[in-house]
Symmetry: C2
Subunit: 233 residues, 2 copies
Amino acid sequence: MTTGVRRRMGVDERRQQLIGVALELFSRRSPDEVSIDEIAAAAGISRPLVYHYFPGKLSLYEAALQRASDDLAERFVVAAEGSLGSRLLRVMRRFFDFVDDHGPGFAALMRGGPAVGSSTTNALIDGVRQAAYVQILSHMNIQNAPARLELMIRSWISLVESTALLWLDGRRVPRADLERQLVHDFAALAAVSAAYDEELSDLLRESLRGEPGDGPFSDLVVRLIALASPPAT
Amino acid sequence: MTTGVRRRMGVDERRQQLIGVALELFSRRSPDEVSIDEIAAAAGISRPLVYHYFPGKLSLYEAALQRASDDLAERFVVAAEGSLGSRLLRVMRRFFDFVDDHGPGFAALMRGGPAVGSSTTNALIDGVRQAAYVQILSHMNIQNAPARLELMIRSWISLVESTALLWLDGRRVPRADLERQLVHDFAALAAVSAAYDEELSDLLRESLRGEPGDGPFSDLVVRLIALASPPAT
């Protein structure tokens, strides 16, 4: 694998390269099945040199996971343009791109990878969920979410995770359908929540005011919100 | 703790007693914080005797988890009487009773308890999810679920889990509201799914035929299904 003539990398550059190589391997197969030898071979360096940079597979896994988490959190950041529905749809596309790219690693992580239950792993996963939550609130133009709305948005984020995980097992539903469906699920769950809370119903209507009539999404939102609201007086 | 005069228990009886005592302790506090000494004291026996029955805390934890899983799976079994909505509501009440009784232990388990990531733990959790799935299909009178319906039901089960978990953190929404809301979420998610699939839409309508008009649930179901369906010709 080595050419003999090889530019010597700096410490940080080498660490970054190893993280990239490891993330690639951890994404394509269950991390349990990836060995340090394989990572060393793919990086074109010796096994002892890998250990020079990372004390063990777990620390390399956690570093790769850190990079993947930063990437994933970034997927929830989209331009504040267009309707809430179209923004959520862009987010879903970016999220499923990630899931597509990192399928086996994502599944292994969420189902119990080598580091699951470790506080580092849990903190990374919670960080991504929190970033997603903050982004969605900001797209809804809401600063302080009432308890019910917070619960609804966080539940939807978990629905997105589990739907992706279930989808990876066989991919029996077209991905694009699921992306749209999850956006509609957001509207549906919001409407059900609003049916239990007038303040929330007003807040949602306010947040969706000016949602342009851009097809089935806003149509569904408007009809669902109306459905979940008390009749106009 | 011991009285000196104590009937000698049989091996199996003693094991069952220890599992019960451990489950009680693991439910009330995070299992990480429960020691074998405490379990021994609560059972009124010596620490070495606990080790005689269970080689370590993990095996006792797994046995307690097995009992809790059997109990939880059982909560999804309700009489095949009344509308789907009323059955799901009964299931949700029984599920939240369980969550109430085992709060800290449930949270620790789902967030990464001592045995998380172990294949035993994962198999137990998956077993409960599968039991819940089978029960719901049977209440819907459906034998072979199309891929979309399977995905929808399994996603809803995961929504129930995560909603309960989020709720436990502060209990800021009345429990009874959440139970009803999750039943409505089921209807809403089913309606969204049906909007993507005519076969599924027919199947759901068939499965909900004869749903009695017993208040807000069936009202919501009917209106949602209508909403998600193509206009009648």
